[in-house]
Assembly symmetry: C2
Homo-oligomer: 207 residues x 2
């Protein structure tokens, strides 16, 4: 049995969808950022990073979306959620996921989380102003070079797909002109119609 | 044959050391950041992200350190550089590497790369002032919770070790009081004495 700690609309929904895709037996538990539950003593015991996602497994707790996505794919090989027998293809998928977490998510985070990296209100405003530009640059690369289509890795759906879907959900809030990214938006639209995606999002919104 | 594109003292040295550890046949090529070679048309063909590292393989180019490290470990299984047959242990290692790339490296980058996320000189100075605090917070977590010892994953050396070594090399430049992190510094000292580490660094410094 696995337990996923999530916050609605956070990057945790990528792992939530992947758990559905894997057919995993799991429980999803909301961490209430509104009441700063991520900083509570109880949650810090689970994840001292005070972030989501966290995945509690019988062997211990895992954090960091790319690692969790690869873990889900490797733990449920029959679901075929990653090219597990091809180190190069697996690395391409992991490279995509690593770019989302270390560059795209970080660019997005400068909109509302400037206090992670600076102290002055003027700096936060400066960072916030630049987010449309930095996130647009990331998605130009994804649109033109990285998203093979129809799925991230080409003909086969992998755990990179729910992760791209997750960060693409933030485009409008980041002030990005989505008309520049028809392939990404087509991918997002197809993902939104998938039963596992609908189920994971409905579960997160219902609590 | 593999070709690694690196810049001295950049995060590319982690993959450089891992290639040595793997016993891989490879060539290392310096990208001269002094002359902005990473933005040249020739290099952008290899890596449109205009960053290092990039690993040219017979199947294509890989970027993003965590993906490259897992690829090296999986491609040279006899070198035993990762727990390849244990999805949970592999995920723990990947979680460590993902934290280094998405949180620790990003915190460090706010010292000299503020223009990635803001436009005003005052913001860059604000970011720079905060780096000792943010990097210290990262290494408190690594020192107390993440570095199992004597190696990152415990008794067995993995590709997480050259990556921790790489980012720990930046502590002094980031204005961090290293006396707070005796376990990390002991790890760094042991890494510095390893023949593969010495060889990779000497090769990067000789060009």
């Amino acid at each position: 049995m696995l337990t996923l700690y999530y916050s609605p609309n956070a990057c945790s929904v990528a792992s939530h969808i992947a758990l559905e895709d894997a057919g995993a037996e799991y429980e999803a538990r909301k961490v209430d950022f509104g009441s700063d539950q991520q900083k509570s003593a109880g949650y810090l015991e689970i994840n001292p990073k005070a972030r989501v996602p966290a995945l509690v497994t019988p062997r211990g707790v895992l954090t960091e979306t790319p690692a969790m996505l690869a873990f889900i794919a490797q733990s449920f090989p029959e679901a075929k959620l990653a090219p597990l027998d091809d180190p190069f293809a697996f690395a391409e998928m992991q490279s995509f996921n690593s770019y989302l977490c270390s560059t795209v998510h970080v660019a997005h985070a400068h909109r509302g989380r400037g206090s992670r990296w600076a102290d002055d209100e003027a700096s936060f405003a400066d960072m916030r102003r630049k987010v449309p530009q930095t996130v647009t640059a990331c998605f130009e690369l994804i649109e033109s070079r990285m998203l093979k289509g129809p799925w991230v890795m080409g003909d086969t759906y992998t755990v990179a797909d729910p992760y791209l879907f997750t960060v693409a959900q933030w485009l409008e809030i980041d002030g990005v002109d989505i008309s520049r990214f028809p392939r990404v938006i087509d991918h997002r639209s197809r993902m939104r119609e998938m039963p596992n995606v609908k189920k994971a999002i409905a579960e997160e919104m219902a609590v």
